[in-house]
Every structure is written in structure tokens, then in C-alpha cells.
Amino acid sequence: MALIISDVESKLLNLKDEDIIIENNGHIHPCIGCFGCWVKTPGRCIIKDDYSDTGEKLGKCNELIIVSKCTYGSYSPFVKNVLDRAISYIHPDFVIRKGEMHHKRRYDNSIIMKVYFYGEAISEQEKETARNLAKANAVNYDGLVQKVVFLKSRDELRGMSL
């Protein structure tokens, strides 16, 4: 199953029936850094809105597809908000991975990431930051990045096989 986190209208995306899409309903709360998703309601964000179970959804997918406006080499505020609210995908305990401290796995699934960044004037520096950001996310998820694609406009997503 692929989990798609997207800041564009789903009608632009070529979705499969089994895919799960997380999109902007205009009412997402930001992460408040409380770690309740680790120590109060383990596995689930304590903030009550439509995005509290993203960590669980990440635990059930084998592909994570991110569609986002490239924002200074980061994901857009909405996509980043969803990811910030989903740290319950991983376990609070630490492991040393590739010589660096990261978090232990909570789930057994292995995530393959595909990231589609769009934007009119993405600089080379922003592209480099964006690639490194996706790579760093994959290390923290103990997964892999399959591809990072840069598009000049969201319209290029229409009909594209993700």
C-alpha cells in the first residue's frame, strides 16, 4: 500500500484504489513538541484532528509518496506539518545507525520514499537541500529514497505515474 501525503488537489494525481491519501482539509494543528505520541498515547498523536493517526498509517505502508511545493528546500508547511505530527511511526529509544544517533523502529515495514517537489523557480541550492532532506528522513525511518523529482508546475503531475 502506498501512503501519499500531498498538498495538491487529489484530482491531479494518478491514484490507485488501494492508495491512502493525506491531503489538506484546512484544519491541521501543528506539533507542539509534547512527545505525548510516545509516552501518553504511544503510536498516536494526542492532538485531536484528522491527522492524529498518520504514524499508524506510515506503519502500514511500503511506499511513502510525498507531493509538495518546494519551500526553501523543505516540504511545504502543510506536508511538513503532517510529517511533524507522525513521529510516532518511530520508537522513542535510540539506535546508532551509520555512526549517528537515530530512533529505533516501532514497526517492521520498510518504507520506500518517492518525493515530487514542484515550484516555478527552485534554485540548485534548494534542490540540493531538498534531496538531502529526503535522504535524512529515509535514514530516520530506516527506509530508502527511490527518487526525488523536481517539477516546474503542479500541472505536470496530471496523469503522471507516481
Partner: protein
């Protein structure tokens, strides 16, 4: 000289960013004053953005979230870009801290800040990436430059000198002066104490849904 100190932590109190900014201020001569801002939510008033024009330096401090900038702060940065800042002589400095031990893990967040400066037309000054951020709020009483804050003291003195001189420099990445294995052990002990305080069992830390 006018310096804005911008706390990008969503926490109202006891954040590592608060401790870091407090420590940084001790590196400046007494006559330097600061104006403090808290960006805790995803939107900011245009009046505040307008106020930023009066400063020589904007100094941000924020926690690393999922290898980048917390979404509420990112959203504020977008609003600043949209509104625009007329004073293009402003230097921007940033201190990112992460719960991981290695300060280098803040590099992408600092590069995002740097890219933001480019878009808004401000001058990137310097970034400091601090590792071991999970311990900082409990080290509030430890003087900067001493014990676990030795590396931090060296970096902050350099940062303060660059802010005062209005100069730019390479980013600095550091860890607290505390062994990694002990930091890891103490962190994990902390999670166990927290989950028990919530009347759950240690095994619930790994609960699968």
C-alpha cells in the same frame, strides 16, 4: 545595534531554544539590548513583520523537527516572504538544536534557513547546529563555557562576535560535552519515567497500532 531574538519553539516554557537564547545573550556586552519574539503558532501579524525592518540582526532559535524546521515556523517564514522585508541589510543567524547527539544532524534545517534568506533578500550570517538538545533545558543553571556547555560557549562567543560585527561565517556543528552513550542512556531512562508517570508500562513505548 538592534537585535531581534526569535524563539521558534512551540513550547511556552522549558524549551531548549529558550535556554540557548538566554545563554547566547550572556556573550554580548551589557549595553546591547534585545527584543524578544516568540513564534509559537503558524501565523504572525504583519505588524511584527514590519517591526523586523528596524533590526540589524534577526537571531532565530528552534528545535529540529523531522530533519527540518517545525511546520509552524516554516509557515511564518512563508508569511514573511510574502509580506516582504524592505531592509535588505539585515543579517540572519540561526541556532537549531536536535535531540540526537550529533549537531551535524541540524544541517538541513540550517540550509533551509539559508535558502529562505536568499528568497527574502536578507544576508545569511551563520548557523549553529547543537546536538544533545534533550539535555539543555535541565542544564539551565550550568554557566556557558563550562562542563557540558564547553563547546557551546566557544561557538556562541564566535556567533556573538559575528552578530556584533555584522559578518557572515560558516555554520558550526557541535555536541554537548557529555558522552554519547550516557546521553542515550539518560534519554531512554527519561522515556521510561515519563510513560510510567502516565500509568502505562515500559513495554507500551513500543506499542503497535
Amino acid at each position: 545595534m538592534k537585535i531581534a531574538v526569535i524563539n521558534g519553539s512551540p513550547k511556552k516554557s522549558d524549551s531548549a531554544s529558550t535556554t540557548l537564547l538566554k545563554d547566547l545573550k550572556t556573550c554580548f556586552p551589557k549595553e546591547i539590548s534585545f527584543i524578544d519574539y516568540d513564534l509559537r503558532v503558524s501565523t504572525m501579524s504583519p505588524d511584527i513583520i514590519e517591526e523586523f525592518n528596524q533590526f540589524d540582526a534577526l537571531v532565530f532559535a528552534f528545535p529540529l523537527y523531522v530533519d527540518g524546521i517545525p511546520s509552524h515556523l516554516l509557515s511564518c517564514l512563508c508569511e514573511i516572504e510574502t509580506y516582504g522585508i524592505e531592509n535588505k541589510a539585515i543579517h540572519v543567524y540561526a541556532i537549531a538544536n536536535c535531540g540526537f547527539y550529533e549537531g551535524k544532524q541540524n544541517r538541513n534545517a540550517l540550509h533551509i534557513m539559508q535558502n529562505w534568506c536568499e528568497k527574502v533578500g536578507l544576508i545569511w550570517g551563520q548557523g549553529i547546529g547543537v546536538g544533545g538538545g534533550g539535555a539543555l533545558s535541565s542544564l539551565g543553571k550550568v554557566p556557558l563555557g563550562k562542563g557540558p556547555k564547553k563547546n557551546l560557549g566557544t561557538a556562541f562567543n564566535q556567533l556573538a562576535a559575528h552578530i556584533l560585527a555584522g559578518t557572515s561565517a560558516d555554520n558550526i556543528y557541535l555536541s554537548i560535552n557529555f558522552p554519547r552513550f550516557l546521553y542515550k542512556w539518560a534519554g531512554q531512562l527519561g522515556w521510561r519515567q515519563s510513560i510510567k508517570a502516565n500509568k502505562l508500562k515500559v513495554k507500551d513505548l513500543g506499542r503497535r497500532l
